[in-house]
Amino acid sequence: MSSEIYRDKILESYRHPKNYGSIDDAQIKVKESNPLCGDDMEMHLKLDADNKVSDIKFTGRGCAISIASASMLTELVKGRSLEELRSMDKQELLQKLGIDSLQLNPVRIKCALLSLKTLKVGVVSHLGQQLSAEEVNVLENEE
């Protein structure tokens, strides 16, 4: 990988993440962690009458890439429906981060995808479902 990925945009989102915090009356509250490195993330989603995201906040401990990714993800998903979130392509987030998945080694791609995994786990469990093995593999960059 190259340290070029630490662009201003990533550093800014790491140091001053958007939507950092919690929502007491959120319908979806979800916690995920990366057992390899001990990073963890909690996400709160508030839904409107149409089951679309009206507000989203996160808290977490992690590297610049995982925190910046969570910050950008929360910016991307406001107004989206649960179905849209479930089918959201990881490339959309990586693109927003400015990360080429070939540029970053696979372990660090997991850092970039922890936020999306947390979000999807929250969404599917709210729908009373579980992520399929294939969906998990994609999010853990093991497809």
């Binding site: 340290s3 001990g38 990073d39 401990r61 590297c63 890439i65």
Partner: protein, 414 residues
């Protein structure tokens, strides 16, 4: 290797390790992660190859020549290890897969039969998960209590809490000799003595000490001691359990099957003598022989010299790290009171980001919780960066590290 000087000739030593002839993106490998696993000298790799090419056969059973040779080499590796840690006899040396398996063996074979409700297992807050999780299993299985000797802010165990060990219902003391996170050297001899005063059994996790300093099981007086081959210049796949013979003899086997029996009828079996009673199935014979070669290599250099070298490099690293603004070092900070392991953080740069940036410079460090999550909690950090030194590291590696840290600060606009 030049043995005429007291200090180590690191450049000469590096020539013994094939991996250091490799370069990545035009840069040599600066390996600062020996606490995770050490690199292997050619003599170790050759010993493993030699086994497979010349006398590959199963041990303890063949009448034929190469099986006898394999058995002799396997058992000779065992004697080398016994001598290396000054065990009374090689029957006190059990080959396992790694230090973790050695501790599990004690938990299953000794713990389950000796530690019950109302009994206590005393550990420390410095333990690696390998010397914690098996005892958590035991406390659920047998309802025993787990207690911990706390670690002070300076990374040393709180000696006023050593009284914790000395309670009548303490059945086991489990303590690491050198912390894999902070490098802290614990006073294991003193702690084992306290354990013995209340008739508790003691287990020393020596995974970070045996490769780096002289370790004498009789001097420590411990009942069990474990270490891993792959952290001791040896191959992955072989570990060691030292146990006092009278204890090993009283214990049940751990893995049941072939090689660990004397005779078998349809309904019953008679166990083999120690240590083979604990080595069910075919062992990792080639790896054990490789570990024997690793010990030959270490003996040739001398553990006293290795220890002195690590103190020198650690001392230099601590001083250099002090000069980098934003560096926060955890632990004792006195090279005489620690192994060659330093944990730190740099300003607001997460250790993973730091490790990625150093990786670009060919520098391998560890970032994360180092399999010691309770200790991380105590330090109030989720992760640290960790460097660890060995015989193939010199002050120039420290210089490269410092240069890398300054680059990381630039990347993070600090």
């Amino acid at each position: 290797m030049d043995l005429t000087h007291n200090t180590l000739d690191v450049e000469q030593i590096k020539l013994d390790f094939p991996i250091f002839s490799r370069s990545i993106l035009g840069k040599p490998i600066t390996y600062l992660d020996s606490a995770a696993t050490t690199q292997k000298p050619k003599t170790v790799i050759d010993a493993v190859n030699y086994f497979y090419e010349n006398f590959n056969a199963n041990v303890h059973r063949g009448i034929y020549k190469i099986s006898q040779e394999a058995t002799e080499a396997f058992e000779s590796a065992r004697s080398k290890i016994a001598k290396f840690i000054n065990a009374e006899s090689s029957s006190e040396i059990v080959f396992t897969k790694n230090a973790t398996e050695s501790i599990n063996l004690v938990t299953y074979s000794w713990g389950r039969k000796n530690v019950f409700e109302q009994d206590r297992v005393v550990l420390t807050e410095l333990e690696h998960h390998s010397n914690l999780v098996p005892w958590q299993f035991l406390s659920k299985e047998n309802k025993c209590e787990l207690d911990f000797i706390p670690v002070n802010k300076d990374g040393k165990l709180s000696e006023v809490h050593f009284d914790n060990i000395a309670k009548k219902n303490t059945k086991l003391l489990g303590v690491t000799q050198v912390s894999n996170v902070l490098g802290t050297i614990n006073p294991v001899k003193e702690m084992v003595k306290i354990a013995h005063e209340c008739d508790a059994v003691s287990l020393v996790d020596a995974a970070q000490s045996v490769p780096h300093m002289p370790v004498d099981v009789q001097d420590i007086g411990c009942d069990f001691l474990v270490f891993s081959g792959h952290k001791t210049l040896g191959p992955m796949g072989v570990g060691v359990l030292y146990g006092k013979k009278e204890l090993l003899e009283k214990m049940d086997p751990f893995i049941y099957g072939g090689d660990m029996i004397k005779s078998v009828s349809k309904t019953e079996s008679k166990w083999n003598d120690v240590p083979w009673k604990f080595e069910g199935g075919t062992s990792s014979v080639a790896d054990a022989i490789g570990l024997g070669a690793a010990i030959d290599y270490l003996n040739k250099i001398g553990l006293d010299r290795i220890r002195a070298h690590e103190i020198e490099v650690t001392d230099y690293a601590l001083k250099e790290l002090k000069d980098v603004e934003g560096v926060d070092v955890y632990g004792p900070k006195d090279p005489n009171e620690m192994g060659g392991v330093i944990s730190f953080n740099l300003a607001d740069i997460h250790p993973h980001d730091l490790a990625s940036i150093l990786d670009e410079e060919g520098i391998a460090i560890r970032a994360g919780h180092h399999c010691a999550m309770p200790l991380m909690e105590k330090l109030d950090v989720s992760a640290t960066a960790r460097v660890s030194f060995y015989i193939y590291n010199s002050k120039s590696d420290v210089d490269l590290l410092i240069k890398g840290l300054r680059k990381a600060k630039q990347v993070f606009k600090l």
